[in-house]
Every structure is written in C-alpha cells, then in structure tokens.
Symmetry: C2
Subunit: 529 residues, 2 copies
Amino acid sequence: MIDSLNPPTRRQLLTMIGKTGGAMALYQAMTVLGHAADSQFNGPPKLSGARPGSTVLVLGAGLAGMLAALELTKAGYKVQILEFQNRAGGRNYSVRGGDTITELGSTQQVQFAPGNYLNPGPWRIPYHHRTVLHYCKELGVELEHFAQLNHNAFIHRKDAYGGKPQRYRDLYVDFKGHVAELLSKSLNAGALDTAVTAEDKAKLFQAMREWGVLDKSMAYTKGMHVGEQRGWERAPGGGVNGAPIPGDVGTLSDTLSTKVWEQIGFYTEHVMQTTMFQPKGGMDHIGKAFAAKVGKLIRYNTKVTKIAQDDKGVSASWVDTKTGATGETHADWMVCTIPAPVLNQMDFQISETKKAAIRALPYGNSVKIGLEMKRRFWETDYAIYGGHSFTDQPIGLISYPTGNFFGDGPAVILGAYPFGIGAYMLAGMTPEKRIAAALDQGQVFHPAEYKSEFRSGATVAWSRMPWILGCCATWTEESREKHYQDLVAMEGRIVLAGEHCSYYGCWQEGALLSSLDAITRLHQRALAA
Amino acid sequence: MIDSLNPPTRRQLLTMIGKTGGAMALYQAMTVLGHAADSQFNGPPKLSGARPGSTVLVLGAGLAGMLAALELTKAGYKVQILEFQNRAGGRNYSVRGGDTITELGSTQQVQFAPGNYLNPGPWRIPYHHRTVLHYCKELGVELEHFAQLNHNAFIHRKDAYGGKPQRYRDLYVDFKGHVAELLSKSLNAGALDTAVTAEDKAKLFQAMREWGVLDKSMAYTKGMHVGEQRGWERAPGGGVNGAPIPGDVGTLSDTLSTKVWEQIGFYTEHVMQTTMFQPKGGMDHIGKAFAAKVGKLIRYNTKVTKIAQDDKGVSASWVDTKTGATGETHADWMVCTIPAPVLNQMDFQISETKKAAIRALPYGNSVKIGLEMKRRFWETDYAIYGGHSFTDQPIGLISYPTGNFFGDGPAVILGAYPFGIGAYMLAGMTPEKRIAAALDQGQVFHPAEYKSEFRSGATVAWSRMPWILGCCATWTEESREKHYQDLVAMEGRIVLAGEHCSYYGCWQEGALLSSLDAITRLHQRALAA
C-alpha cells in the first residue's frame, strides 16, 4: 500500500507494481521511471520459499554458477557445484607471478613481479553493467577507474603515414575537421537545400565551424585554433618563449587512410564508453568474492561426463581429475553453466533442438598476451596513461595499465588482444613464439623501449584452454534467430546459464543477468511442480 | 662526450646539445626526438653556482613562488618569501569541513564531512602538463585519475528538448549520425566531386556509414546498429527476455538545438582530453608538498605595500596583517608572483611599459560552489561516475566527484563553475544565495534528489578573494600582442612569474613553466652582473 503521507521510494513502487501487475507492467513502469534503458538489472532477485529439502546441482563455478548458488541458497535450496578446474571463477581470471598457465600442449610459469597481473579474460566493467557493479558492492570488491579512451595513445596502420603511428587525438581532430569542411562546402553549394531547413542550415554552418575548428573561410587548416585541440609543434610555455607553435594538419587522404573512424566508433560503443572500471589488483577479485560466499559448496577437479534427468530429478556423472574416482551427483534441479563447446562433447540427455542450439553456437577465439616491462616508459617517455594503441597487425592493440599510474618498477602491458584472424594466427604459436610476435609487432609504437625494457611474458589462447575451448559466445543474427530461445528454454529440470545465454555475449554482465533469469524461472518451475 | 660503447640516454643527449648548441639547437633536437610537441618542460632546471651570499626575495607563496624558492635554493641562493595569506599555495587550494572562507564582505564556515573537499581553484591536471606531473612525483604527491569525459552525463539547454536534459552519448551519436547522413547525401549528389578524388570519395562513403552508424540506405535511423552506441530503450539482458529494444533517435533539428558540438569540442581541447589526474584528497596537496620543502622560508600574513629596486638590490615594504608591524625586506634579486589585479594597486617602482602591461592584463572571473549531498545518488540512481553535466544556466555545469566511486556517505558535487556572465551573476550574490541558486539550477539534472539530499555548501567567488581579486589571466590575442613581452621581461633585478606570465593562463602548468623561465633568466642575469 502506498502511504499517502510518505510517498513510496522508487524501489518500493517498482516492487508493488511487479507484485500486482506482473513483469510487463513492471517493465513499463521502469521505463517511465527512467531505469530500464540503462540495464535490465533491477536489484537482486527476491526468491524465497523453496520447498523444504529441494536441491539444485550447479555445473560450473564461474560467475553465473556461483551467483546461481548464492541466490538459490538464499531462497532455501540446498546447492552443490561441480567445477572442472581447481579454482573458482572460470574466465573471471587473473594470472600473477608463480601461477601456472596450462593450455592444450603447453604450460607456462608466470614470472611477473609481485603485484603485477594479467586478466586473460574480462578486464573492464562499463558503467551500465549494473549487475556486476551491484554484486561488487555487495561482496566488497574494490573497483577503480579503468582508462579507456586515451587521446594521446596511437593508431597504427601499415598503409597510412608510411606505417608511422599517429596519436589518436591528431587523427580524430583531422577527421572531424575534414568532414566539417566538406559538409560546409556542400551546404554552400546548395546541395542540401532540399534536405535541411534554412534555420538548420545556418546552425549547421555554425556547428561545422566550431566542431571542425575551421578557419574563417570554413577550411580545415593549420593554425592556433586547431592547435588548441590537436596539440602543438611547440607546446605553450611560460615567459619569453611561451608562445606555442601550431603543427601541420593531416590531409584528407592521409586521414582517411588511417580509418580512424573505426576507433572513434569503438570508443562510442555503449559497452566501451567512459566511465569504466576494473577491480583493483585483478579481475579475479570478483570470482574470489563469490567463492568466499559459496566456495564450500564447490567440488573442484570434477570433470562432468554425463548429464541426465527424469521426472524426479537430475544427475551428473563425473570423474575426479586428481584421484580418478568417479561418482554421480543427484539433485532435484540443475543449472548448467558449462560452455557450449565443452557441453557439446558430453553425453547430455536433452532435446534435439537444444543439442542443435549448443552445436550451432559459435564461440569466438581470442588471445591475450601480457608483457611485463621493467619500467613505465609509455608514461614517462610518451605521456600515455592507460588506454589502447591500435594496429592492423595481428596483435590488434596494445593496452597500457591503469592501476598504479606513475609507479616505479615493472608493469604489465597487454601486448595483444585480437579476435578473429589475428587470434587464430597467435593461438597457433607456442606461448614463447606468441610473446616474441607480440614484442615484434608492438614495438612499432615504442621502438626504442619495447624490447630492451621487456622482462617477462604470459599468454592465454582461449581456444587452447581445455575447460572452454574458445573465448565466448559470438552469436550471429542468424544463429540467434534460429537457436537462442531453444538454448535458454528450461527443459524439464535443467536450465542453462552463462554469457552464452544472454544478449551480452562475452561480458560478465551477460553471465550474471542470464543466471538471474535462469534461477528465477527455475524457482517458478520448482514452486509449481 | 658520447661514450661510443654506451649510447647516451635521451636526457643525456639533450643536456649535451643544450650545453653545446644553445636553446634553439636544443629545441630542434627535442622536436626530432619527439618531446617538444607535448610540453616545453624538459626536466627541472640545472641551476648552480650562485654567487656566494646572493639573495632572492620572492613575493607570493603560490606554486610559482614556491617553485622559484625551491630551485633557487638548490642553485645556492638565499631565498625569502613574503605571503599575504596565513597559508601557502595561493589558488592551489582546497576547503574542508572546519575551514573558514573569507571573501570581501562575507565569511563561511565550511561544514563538509571528514574527507570531503572542494577545490575552488585548479582541480585537474592534463596528461601533458609535464611540469606539474614532474613535481608531483618529485615531491611525493599521490595522483589519481580524474574522470573527465563521461558519456552518460547530461547536457541541458533551455531551448532544446523542452528543457529536458539529454545524455551526452545520445546527442553525440545523433550528431555524428546526422552529419554522416548529410555528407553522404552530398557525396551521392556529386556536390563534392571536384573537391575529393574518386578513391577518397569511396572511403568517405565507408567512413560515413561506419562512423555515423547509418543504415543500408545511408540514413541515420532507429535500429540495433544505433543502439550499440546510443544505448537502448530496453538494455540487453540474459535468458528469455534478453533481446534489447533500440530507442528512438533525435531529429536533426532537435540535435542542432542542443549545440552538442560545443561539448564535443570541449572534450577535444588539448587541455581537456583524457587521461586527466587530480591529487588524491584535494589539489592543495601539491601546495602543501612544496611548502614542506620551502615553508621555512615563508613569512605569512605579510601584505606588501611597496616594491622598489636600485642598482644594488630590491626591497619590499610590508605590513604584518596580524600585528600591524611594518618592515622592509631587502635582497639582491626579486621574483614577484603577485597577481596583476593586486600588483596594479601597489606602489611598484617599475617602468611605465610594465605598469601598462599589468594594468591591461585582463583577469577572468569564476565562481565555484561545492554542494555536499547525503549520498551519491548520481551513481546509484543515474549511473553517472564523475564527469560533467552541462547547462546554459548561469552555473554552467555541475561536476560529479571522481574520488571514492561507490562510496557510502556524503559526497561533494561541484554545483557551479561558470566563467564570464554566469560568474558575475553568482559573484554578485551572498554565499548563501549563491548556494541556493546552484541548487535551483542544478536540480534540472536530478529533480528528485538534488534538494532533498543536500547537506551543506561552500563557495568561492574569485573576484571577491582579497588577495587576488579575480580568477586568472585571460589574455586576448590583442592584449598579448601588445603587452605580454613587456610583462615577462626582466627589468633590472625584478622578474615577474605566475600563470599570468605564460601561455597556459589559468593552469598550474603555466605558473610552473613561467617560474622556471623566470628563475633561469634571473640566474643568468645574476651570474652576468
């Protein structure tokens, strides 16, 4: 009931609407209240009243599995988790000095200095991934800013500027300058007189002049006004020689040859926009925080070989990878978060449509390579603090560490993060050759320092990780259309969860939202059973 | 000498070139080595060999004055500083709970909770302000990221969207979408066929489609591709209802009415680009770090009334504002960092040209208002973490705190930061009325929370600060042309320093670079004398 003297809080109002009007009414109300646009997350699920003694078996102790265990336990279920690895977290993973990385065909001993780390999997959290942010807060995971858009980082294209990397800011300012000049030329020529009103045309002239930092004749040319954005041939200073000297601007052809609009577009993606975050000290602090809550429910080193269900319950057959012991775990319900490429190889008693969906679900490949350097030369010598330098070489980009800006001592650059062809090329190499390739390619940005300051490397090729055999789900429009609902539909007593069961493929937010959706449906089914 | 076996470091090379070839050769070498473009700073000055017993009187214990004292002391001079206030730092200033703010005509007792602060003066440090960054490192000032560009913050224009604030990301995506659509229309119509080559024209089509997220018919329309950047009517989620729903896009006319290009331009300014920094816990940590080095040289509460010089030395007459005692301090040389509006009112024995420069130097006005809120509703309820929401009301903008993201308890929003007319309007009010006006105007962004969550406020109108009577130097092209060199020229035994004696007016970098330039010239003059 709404107390007429004390108006309800937004949350109270939404809860009330949800109870009385159902999900659609709730969604409409959320939209009106301005919440839904940013995230489908609207607080943790309020599950309660599980039938006494009801049990749930969760397969996989990644974020989706552990969140399911956490919330189902709260609801009154007895939960057990089976996990293939000897650690919780799944792709929520950080490697540090002393760790061993085991790929198919190789192992690496990580040599990083204390405090340094590489996040082989997820590494950044957008401001609107409210589920991740909520559980970080609830579980006490300390977040810090993640430097995403750095105007001073580089773009390298083999066929642009003779292969010499350019500062993002220079190309960005050149690009909008040329676009503005061309559009104002078109306006002047009357080419758009039928498309825009006279009033908008006047505003567009003003917009192009100001946005494009054009000169008085509406041309994009070298000058102080451009220097104010693009930076300088000689920077402003103090005293008698303080006057800055503007630098040359790039030509239209040179600018277009860099395809800088791809990076502008990248930085504008909703999931890539500022402000971003990372857990301080490594992404795996999230997994560890979940494990601190549900770790006692996890059976590690447990390779599931068969999944079955009947009218009365579910079962998973398994082998203990340490002892060789085999067993079978039974429960009333199951949340299966095993990645599709692995699930696809299992004896899984499920419908043909779901099997087809699992089989058809494409997983992307990706490789990360951490390069520990003796010192932060990118900060001291290049004034680059965090962010990414992009290249059209196979490594795709290099990314500078956000944590501990201005720190002394060694620091880890992300030396490669390709998807697609670049990832397959690198994944085909041994870790040592991968690291050497990353040094070869990345030195285009920092030729004097990259190899001489190198200390040690570590790399993960996700297609070679035996417990997932790929990086993450990369649905196409067609595969989604055909298989997505089949994949996520609860079938009997089993529901799947994970980033592959969401529209946020490859993001932790997708894993968590999928898990919340899956357990909410499981709970409804269990209560109705 | 270059050791042929051990190639010199960049720094050694530059030092060597500077010694043998002079400033111009040094500058050319720096340009070749890629340094000069970012900053005129090339390490602290290596002054040494002051004549035994030489003395320097520094007027003003702001950053310029304290840096001069620090480096001149290293060079062997005996330095004394006279400071009007009872603290060091000048505009490098933070106010906290328990502080008193004394303006002409009013005093405020600041009520902020422990740990909270307002930086009334400088508040952010660009990545290329190498002098500030250098001394922060040298003096042990801990810096943290400053959130500058936040795609999720608002833009409010009284005459756009019925006065309803829009997310920056929405307007930014709409703006480039419409520009891309119009430019591709012009290209299609052949309007630019004489201006661009056929090859560039083809690239421009591709650029406009990708950069503008245009649809297949090269139009900027609602759709999934736009949602990927602009965000969603319903965000992507997990499980059965995971599919996102794209939102409407803004029309060309609506987009132009917001003048969003002004903000795009703002974020693109060289001094406003990411990555930015702030000292953790308040900007005054820089001033305090300098004072920890040179504080013992400072005479506080000392109002200089007269400055004179002759062939043998300089003198400053002063009044102790606490005791009323008067005195006169003598030295061989002087660095005067007193701001022009105050210097202009003094008995200053200097040439008419320098007096004219001091008189003509325009100082901008600015007002800052800190609003302490009971909780970080902008983070929890709006997903805004740092950055600025802009308005065309007198307050100009509100800015969200960077430090302590996700923190519980009260936090301080910068509730106003106008220059120009808005600043004069607010400076004309009492502090209480200023704070009330900031609450009135700022609530446009957060109507449900802004007033109900308000806890306490603090404000500084720089035109009302008795020791400066303005915010900072805002040279025009004309005033610079006419007076700048007169202002910075060393005259006899006196040299001026401060941000007003630089091309980085209103920035700490300008104050420091000006100081380095001034003391370098002073030292040369002293050695030659």
